[in-house]
């Protein structure tokens, strides 16, 4: 039966150790082990590119062990090769949080967010200019990342990171590269509110300022204007939509 063959192929390609019974069912032990290598190597290639700094940080053996465990836990759910590193990271980061240096999870999270930014969908088209009485429209490739360690910087060889809480906006620039920009906590909450786009710009500013116990006075307005101009210049804020 084709279904039995298909499941045997899956176990041979992704299982921790292919069973002799499956290899016998499929008919050619040596050649099905070739398939196992081909399938795993292709997936490994894209994972290693996306998480290259994490792999360097934890070492080849530890990294490969996590990938093998992920393979054994079930083959990829996504049809898109570009989403494979994200599936691996979702599985492996909780493991690395328990077993590796405390900053490794931040580093892997940072790398996978940068990878997602690079491959994120196309931007929406706003129906109007950015305005305070409209809902904001942001680029698709924008994420706010709250880190305990400054993993966006590269440490000296062999060194790790000291704790230094950092909030980043990661976005795709006009050359399609993921770029980190530091944010203060209020700006980060504003950006997340604008990503949600469920209020007008003015409403979201009032809500976030209140949550931060910040008065909307001249100093706030000046900083807000600078932030908005910068986000527009970087292609993060694209424009607005009229409220529904």
């Amino acid at each position: 039966m084709l279904a039995d063959h298909a499941k045997a192929m899956q176990r041979v390609c992704f299982g921790a150790e292919p069973s002799e019974a499956d290899l016998e069912l499929l008919g050619s032990r040596e050649r099905w082990l070739v398939y196992r290598d081909l399938v795993r190597n292709r997936l490994n290639q894209v994972i290693r590119v996306a998480l290259s700094r994490t792999r360097d940080a934890i070492g080849e053996d530890t990294f490969a062990r996590a990938v093998d465990e992920w393979f054994s836990a079930g083959s990829p759910k996504t049809r898109y090769l570009r989403h494979i590193p994200g599936e691996l990271a979702e599985f492996a980061i909780p493991i690395w949080q328990r077993t590796e240096a405390p900053w490794v999870a931040d580093l892997a999270g940072y790398e996978i967010t940068a990878w997602d930014i690079r491959h994120a969908p196309a931007d929406p088209v706003p129906s109007s200019e950015f305005a305070f009485d409209r809902r904001p429209v942001l680029a698709t490739a924008v994420r706010v990342l709250r880190l305990a360690y400054p993993v966006q910087t590269k440490p000296a060889p062999g060194a790790g990171y000291e704790p230094d809480p950092t909030i980043l906006c990661l976005y795709r620039d006009r050359s399609h590269r993921p770029i980190p920009r530091k944010l203060n906590p209020l700006a980060a909450d504003l950006l997340e509110a604008w990503r949600a786009a469920d209020q007008t710009v003015a409403e979201s500013i009032q809500r976030v300022a209140a949550a931060h116990h910040t008065e909307i006075g001249p100093e706030f307005v000046e900083k807000l204007s600078t932030l908005i101009a910068d986000l527009i210049e970087r292609g993060i804020l694209l424009g607005g939509h009229s409220p529904p």
């Binding site: 298909a6 499941k7 491959h119």
Partner: protein, 280 residues
Amino acid sequence: MTRDVAGIGLGLRYDLATELLERRPKSVAWVEIHPENYIDRGGRYQEMLELAREQWPVVTHGLSTCLGSVEPFDTSYLRELGAFLTNLAIPWHSEHLCLGGVDDRFFHDLLPLPFTAEAAQIASQRLTEVRDAIGVPLALENVSYYAPQGPDGLAEADFVVEVLESADAKLLLDVNNIYVNGRNFGFDPKAYIDKIPMERVVQIHVAGHFLRDDGLRIDTHGEPVPDDVYELLDYTLRKTGPVPVLLERDNNVPPLDELLSEVDELWTIYRNATGADDAR
């Protein structure tokens, strides 16, 4: 509006796109893309596709809607694929005659189907289902395989023909795959070509492959096209007439000029074999 696809095309791949899109060589008559690399994706890939469409007709070749899987299709993906293809105004779309996943999990490789009546019936039914869902002509592609799937190598040709006839389908004929299978399983690739109903062939693939130390040939798309594959292409084109030919190069991508030399070689074969006068 659908644009004519004829002559020699080149696969649009990330590693060669920058130079290809800057130089826009006249010898490349059309390009092929994998929809999975572009659907729901912006950034550089969106830009590559927009630039390519300014210059060339585009044909699509799917990687993940393999025709031999046993589970129901992901209908939302088929809708998305259909919308993407309609927007591109392609003349046809192709998918592989293989097994690409099981239990809603994906291999990200093209695993061989057993050459059985059951597999042929499933593939034929699925091909019809995909074709109806996407709303554009659909061709299947014969794949390379490394584990024996039948009593003799030519059983694959019979299997492919059975699916083609049963689904009244078009064929993307990969001559490199036939060559690789022929060498790996000891049959004459020309005998395979002779079994194919040529009126169903809408496109041809050629590529290079990797020869391992143990003699097994792997369809890597990472080497130059070998002379034997050029010869098999010539043999095939003399039977099909001027069917568009695509050079696939996915790995170990060389400087563009090296690929364009292969494109020139393909044009020479194409002209000689078909008498086509639209050669660049």
